[in-house]
Structure formats: C-alpha cells, structure tokens
Symmetry: C2
Subunit: 261 residues, 2 copies
C-alpha cells in the first residue's frame, strides 16, 4: 500500500495483506508486555503521581511520545491516529503529499479512548505475568503498553480503509443502507464470518509459533509466552468488533461527503 496512490490503498487484497502483517506486530508487542506484571498503578494517577502532571504514568509517557512524533508528522499519515489529538503540536517538517483517500471527516472517527480503556482493563490482566507489585518495572511496562496500544489503534482504525473500499465497490447498496441509517443492514454488509474464522485460526497458530522458543519446543521446559487461546480471545472479543465499530462509525456518516462533492 502506498498512501500516495489511492488505488493501492482501497484494494481489499492490499488491505488484507497489511492486516495480516499487523497481527505479527500485535503479537510481538503482547509477548513483550507479557513479561511484566499487571501493574494497575501505571494506569491510575491517584496511585502513582507524576510531578507537574495530572496524568497516569501511561498517559504521561504516551502524550510525550505523541508530542515528539507529531513534530515529525506521524499523525499526518492517514493510518496513524493520536490518543491525544487536542494536545499535540503541529509538525515541524514540511507535509508529505498524501492523496485524499478517505472521507473528509475521517479524523473524527477516533475510538482510541475506548481502545485504551479496553486494553488497560480487560487485555492487560489477561496477558500480564500476574499481580505482583514491582515498581522498578513500571517504566518498561508502560513502554510496552504504548507499543501495544499504537499497534492495536492502527489495526482497528484500518477499518476506515476497509469501509471505504467496501463502500466504493457497492455504492448503491451502501447508499440505501446509510440513507436509512440501518445499522443492522450495514453490519450484515460488512461482516464476513468465514474471513473472521480464518483470522482467529491464524491468530492461534501465530501465537503458538511466536510465543515459544523453538529450541525448547520439544523439551519439558517449553512454556508459551502468550496463551494462544487468549490471543484468539483478544481478537474475537475486541479487535474484530472494534474494527467493525470503526467501519460502522465511518459508514454512517459517509453521505455527508457525497452531498459536499
């Protein structure tokens, strides 16, 4: 996919290849996070206070990282969505020339707060190494969290490209559904149960492969770094439904742009 060439971005085969590659990134990042404890203090400013900030340690580090990356235009890229869109600076580098591929309101489709809530409350307890308190690992843990969150956010918000590609390929059908604000109909139109089942199967296979030291695979010491059933659950319960929420949020407004044009 080349964001300067719209036809490559809205090709569902290209999108699928990108999504499959992102599974590896998400699993690598979850495996890294699984080395550390749950560490709820990282997510709660009342438990761990950062002098001069009212943010939790995670939010503090995430915002500082976004500020720096915004300067070098990370959030100009159509596939990068900030968690703190109102607190980041303008780029200091000249803009890249991206062609517009998505509808004009696309940056308003941002469910990062929801992703962060689901991640810290539901996913972290499932993948972490347990409930021990170990304050000297808070920083390393939060840095892993940022990696996972950014990878999940990119994957889930890729739903915008999926939605636009589907809209373009079946305009009449989607226009009627959007006109009627028929969420159920849209949901049926964007759901492909066979593809979803395949994604989940692949997730399990990857989690098992990447999560075990191959030189220990046939020894008694073999121990997975992430449970393959949990990897599957993360996609089944959150990643896929949240991607579809992005598609839905994007599509329900899609006629706004048609009227303008």
């Amino acid at each position: 996919m080349d964001f300067k060439k719209p036809e490559t971005v809205l090709d569902l085969n290209h999108i699928r290849v990108a999504l499959i590659r992102m599974e590896d990134t998400i699993l690598f990042d979850l495996i890294e996070r699984a080395q550390f404890y749950t560490s709820p203090a990282i997510y709660d400013a009342s438990q761990l206070t950062i002098p001069g900030s009212n943010k939790s340690l995670l939010d503090f580090l995430l915002l500082e990282s976004e500020k720096t990356h915004a300067l070098v235009r990370r959030y100009q890229a159509p596939d990068e969505i900030p968690f703190f869109p109102d607190e980041i600076p303008e780029p200091i580098l000249p803009p890249n020339e991206y062609s517009r591929v998505l509808a004009s309101y696309e940056s308003e489709v941002n469910i990062n707060s929801l992703i962060k809530e689901v991640y810290t409350k539901e996913i972290v307890p499932l993948v972490s190494a347990g409930d021990v308190e170990q304050a000297e690992n808070y920083g390393s843990t939060a840095i892993c969290d940022i990696e996972v969150l950014q990878a999940l956010s990119r994957r889930i918000h890729f739903g915008k490209f999926v939605a636009e590609a589907k809209y373009q390929s079946e305009k009449a059908r989607f226009r009627a559904l959007i006109e009627a604000q028929d969420s159920e109909g849209i949901d049926a139109a964007i759901t492909n149960a066979a593809v979803e089942a395949k994604v989940l199967e692949r997730l399990e296979a990857k989690a098992e492969t990447y999560g075990v030291d191959p030189t220990l695979r046939w020894s008694q010491k073999s121990q997975g770094k992430i449970d393959k059933k949990i990897a599957r659950q993360i996609y089944e319960q959150w990643v896929i439904p949240l991607t579809k929420k992005v598609e839905m949020d994007y599509l329900l407004r899609r006629l706004e742009d048609e009227k303008e044009a």
Copy 2:
C-alpha cells in the same frame, strides 16, 4: 533477576535466561525494521534537517525519547544505558532502591555510540527491505530503529553483569590478569566457544520461526521476514564481540574499585 537482590543478578544461570529472552526481543524488533527501506537520510542531518536541531532524525527522536524516559527514571536501572548521557534530565520520580551490584565506574562503560554506528552502517543495510526512497515512512522507520538500538544496547551492556559474575567466581585468576592488564588472557577467560556456537544455532532457529507466518510455512507464498543467516551474522559479527568488549572494558578497570574498598 531482581535488581534489588544482588545474588539473583550475579547468578550466571539467571543472566543466561535473561540473555536468551532478549534474543526474541531483538529478533522481533529487527523483523519490524525489515518492513522498511534502508533510508540513509534518517541517519544524516545534512540530508534531512530537523528545524531547531542539528541532529539527524534518528538522533532527534532518540534523544527526545531518552529525555522523557529519564524523567521517569529509566536510566537509574542498572541495565538501561542512555545514548545521550550528557543531554538527559534528572528523574522527577523518587529513586528506586537498587542495591549496588556493579563497580562504581560502571556507567562510564558505555559503548552506545559504537553500537549506533555499527547498527546504522552495517546492520540496517543487511536487514532493510531495499534502497527505495520513501520519505513518508521515515518516522516509522526511525521508531523501529530506536527499538532495535535500545534492545541491542541492553543486551550488549549486560556484559557488565556477565563480567562481574565471572570476576566474583574466579577472583584470584582475574586479579592477576587485570594487574598485568593482560587483555589476551582476559579474553580467553571470558570466552566459551561452545556457548557461543549454541547461541548462534539458537538465533538461526528463532529467526526462521519468528520470521515466517506459520500458516504460510508449507505454501509457496512462504517468505521469511528476516534471513536466518543474517540474524546469525548480526550476533556473530557484532552482538557477541561487542558484549565481550563491554566485559573487557569493565574488567580492565575492576581493580580500581578493589583499592577503594
């Protein structure tokens, strides 16, 4: 390993487990970097200028990241070594209580400049996806570089713990060698060819396993994301020798501390 309990840190079995786990992190990070092009402009401030800075894009992002992480005491941890030790601020969080495990001069044993040079000049061209110029990926590429560099730095500077553990276990032998500043003798004392061969073998197996989508492994489409021979070469030519350089630099000064004590 628990940095509050020196006996766990200087146990060579614990060190070995930590080093084996780090191989996975390094490979995951290299696999992520391998998605992007060589992008020499990232490493050269004369090719890509950051307004208000005389640093390259990589150095700019790395320093900004180190500044933020220093605030939350990353570089207080004995296994985290900054690339810009003279440019980072003091922590804003109260210090963790680490027991002193290494000699007092340990923070002066810092070969990060050398690691960065080797990485950008030698390793990047080996693992990257080729020589195309694609400016809109510069940021993502540099962020991957930072991950790899920090993982390599941590692995290589773990040589300090290896060196201290070996020193403690054979004090008389090492004292004589250090007294004589006998680098060759020290090199022989810290080298275990059988262990090194095993590391390289394991690296190849891991690179092959983590670098291939398992669901494509037996299809024609299967294509590794990192060449296992290159993974091996990176360890053989740079990671292992640089770790031994850290051990050597650390040990040659080890009697300074004995005199003080």
